[in-house]
């Protein structure tokens, strides 16, 4: 498997073609964050619903490349049901992994581990990070 095939893993393509939890809701209990990367046109909105210390729901909407769009879907599936503490930990671990920083390999990234391949493409790390950064912001807004 060459680098490029490792980038476009089946799980990523699956989420790209069949995004889960897509579409925003009009509910002010959700925290909404919109991030744009004007240089490439990626444009992502993430919503999270927190209740009693855990992530009840995550929604997303936007345009961008396959890496960007699929990662929003993977994010939603990975984090729904987690506690805020766990979600934060997974997010940090994921972002550290992408940026080739040290990260706790014990933390279970579930499908998000598929984005390991992005590390070989530094110019695409932003694409894989943008929705996770937006999600991080939704937590901060609390």
């Amino acid at each position: 498997m060459n680098n490029l095939e490792a980038l476009y893993r089946q799980v990523i393509m699956d989420h790209y073609k069949n995004p889960r939890n897509k579409g925003l809701v009009n509910d002010e209990k959700y925290k909404t964050v919109h991030i744009k990367n004007p240089s490439c046109g990626d444009d992502i909105t993430i919503q999270s619903l927190i209740d009693n210390g855990s992530i009840k729901d995550v929604r997303h909407e936007g345009t961008g490349c396959s890496i960007c769009c699929s990662s929003a879907s993977v994010l939603s599936e990975t984090l729904i049901g987690k506690t805020v503490v766990e979600a934060n930990q997974i997010t940090q671990t994921y972002l550290n992994m992408l940026s080739n920083k040290e990260y706790d390999e014990e933390v279970e990234l579930e499908d998000a581990i598929a984005y390991q391949g992005v590390r070989k493409f530094p110019a695409r790390v932003k694409c894989a990070s943008i929705s996770w950064k937006a999600f991080e912001e939704t937590l901060k807004e609390e």
Partner: protein, 402 residues
Amino acid sequence: MDVKMIKKDFPVLNDNSLVYLDTAASSLKPIQVANKVNEYYLESGVNVHRGVYNLSYKTTELYENSRQIIADFIGAKFEEVIFTRGASASLNLVASSYGMDNIVEGDEIIVSELEHHSSVLPWMNVAKKKKAKLVYVPLTSEGRITVENFKKVITKKTKVVALNYVSNVMGYIAPVKEIIKIAHDFGAVVSVDAAQAVPHKAVDVKELDCDFLSFSAHKMCGPSGIGILYGKLDLLNNMEPIEFGGDMNDNVDLFEVSYKDSPYRFETGTPPIAQVIGFGEAVKYLENIGLDNILEHEFMLKEYVVNKMKQIKGITIYNESSDTGIIAFNIDGVHPHDAVTYFDGDNISMRAGHHCAQLIIKWLKVPATLRASFYLYNTIEDCDKFIESVKKARDFFTEVGF
């Protein structure tokens, strides 16, 4: 034109596997220009104009000599060549000085959806501040600016026409000479965005009769951080400076100051000395090869590639009739950002995005495009590698499920 020999002037291309197709963003730099810049830093490094000692005097000569070289290159007078940070700064200077002082409520400013942001946004700002109207030339179905369509929008209210000479997305050459003539008949002033023109074709400002013309060095084998604003001398000497400070004034009193004439009126502060000297060298380099030869060569490559690409299924080209070396296209169903990573894997450098020209991207009704642009150092082998890569990319993305 001996492209094999030319390639040798570009050290980056020593990597024979590299296919550089992003000249429309920035051209590569020949060794001659790099050496000239380096010479300034290693053998001088001193300031210009204000020094009476020998090293400064010689550096000033080199510096002003570059201005003459560039003036001759575009058929302008020495005093009509203003050094700026780049085309964007030049285009803004026209809008901030000429525009802000001459546009009043109800005036019309003609632009187009084919503009680079740096050509249209300065005028959008003037229009907003002065309550003037921004008027868009309707584009043809191909996305071109034509004389006919221009005639539909020019009126007695038109005070400024701000159009590109060559589009950085579509590669079309606009009929600016005819447009300028008509605009002048209506009493309007014309600012030409020539950032993609001067690097690729012979441009003579007196023949065009344009009022202002802007371009950057970095797209034409020159250094980064330096560009030109050409303006007609009588316009320039009647314009207000937009930056105030050292070197642009005659006499300074506590509450009064008098300004120099063009070009110094618009050049405050220590100038980009190394860049100016390097730019002069770049112009000499291009003149040596001949601008007509360059256009012919890059157009030939573009034609060759477009003809081959048309035979590949699953590729959409947006500007088959491009007049220069620029091709805008997409692999159907594949976001250009994904595609460009594939090409990068083949060591083909290409751009994906809106190319600072969102209006034409929106006009095309796509989120973004790929753009390949050819220049004097590109070869038929580059084209073949590129076409091969396009095919493989399309197959790859089909395979992984796009």
